[in-house]
Amino acid sequence: MIPVSVITGFLGSGKTTILSNLLRRAEFADTAVIINEFGEIGLDHDLIETSDETVVMLQTGCLCCKMQGDLIRTLHDLLHRRNSGTIPSFARIVVETSGLADPAPILQSLILDETAAEHFPLARVLTVIDAISGKTTLESHSEARKQLALADHIVISKTDLAGGTAVDLDKVIRSINPTSQVTRSDKGRLVPDLLFAGDHPESSAVLDRIQSFSSTPAHNATEHRLHHHAHIANDIRTFALQRDTPLDAVCLSLFLEALADHCGADLLRLKGLVQIAENPDQPAVIHGVQHIFHPPIWLDAWPSGDHSTRMVFIARNLSESWVRSLLNAIETEVCEIVQESAGRQ
């Protein structure tokens, strides 16, 4: 029996940071990871530094909508490869859902699929909620409310950045999920025991929770009908910019500034690997949620032979062509400034 824990949480809540942090700990050395990303280009796989063989990317769609069969197949495939010795041994599996996933169908497959239930008992559902924008997210997105309602354990992330806003968030959390334990995490730190230690939830209790949330006013009939592509019904779009030529550092800086300026809360998530002209051999990892950006992280080397810049946007009411036009205009101007400067010398 290989216990499976599910990490869920809305876009930009900090799931990958927490998971990446956990996987660096000795206690998590024997863990396989399945990552499901919403977006045409997956990056989380490149951003989690661990053994490649035990990290699987499910990228052809959202787990909650159409990939439940893929999840079960992937679990069995991992088990088969472990047993045949083609990948390192592991004793547990973590599934990281996409930020827009409804965890209910994923949990139902793990519990109701006979072969999955036999080999892969559900250990824990851990939901990450961002201390800064979590309250607004819960008010605006039914996916986030459902992720919270189905949690065995709730982690409030980014508490080091939030100031006093976390107090209000506690009340909202308790109104949606009054019983689960709540832990605070700053800078992505978390006690590893939260994911696997202790008693596993009873399958019947998990199914009751799913049923109970589905019948609340927060998840009324209309919402349920719309769910299957609430991602689209809510005007949330995902797209990627990919380019082979490096980007000047100043262009990236102006680009991020303009995105924050004009998109604000509508920029649900931006993440990317960027080839910077001044340092092309080391990719810069960029992360942004709404108007909050982390300073770029410089990786020691490119994770694969693909050295192209890849930026994934998940946003509401944001046009891909506007984003491309913005970057084009900035690059053209920076290029002109460089040429003017060279002409003066």
């Binding site: 942090n21 300026d261 982390h294 300073p295 009411n317 205009a329 900035i330 101007e333 002109e336």
Partner: protein, 105 residues
């Protein structure tokens, strides 16, 4: 890259932006010397004129709107001024740089 290219790219960006802000407007790039971009907004009616600042100035652009001239250091600055002109309620969301998690720092 010539000045013409910057004007053309900025005009495309402004056109895309005005659509995104649901603002009815017409944009023309004036191929005069010096080049300029003129934005005619229909509701509320207004004209915005965008020109390059003289070379001796410490900024690159001058945006004239409502009889007032404002300076911008880059196309990003021009975009912000144009949006403030067509959407008075607009408040730019300043970039906030957050601290890195320990293990990434």
């Amino acid at each position: 890259m010539s000045t013409t290219a910057v004007f053309e790219r900025l005009a495309v960006l402004l056109k895309e932006s005005l659509i995104a802000w649901q603002c009815r407007a017409h944009i023309s790039v004036l191929q005069t010397e010096p080049h300029a971009i003129r934005v005619h907004v229909s509701d509320p009616e207004a004209t915005i004129n965008i020109e390059r600042a003289p070379a001796e100035m410490p900024f690159r652009w001058i945006v004239e709107t409502g009889g007032r001239k404002r300076a911008a250091a880059s196309v990003v600055g021009v975009l912000r001024i144009v949006r403030q002109s067509v959407a008075p309620d607009y408040q730019p969301a300043k970039v906030r740089i957050a601290q890195l998690p320990d293990h990434l720092a």
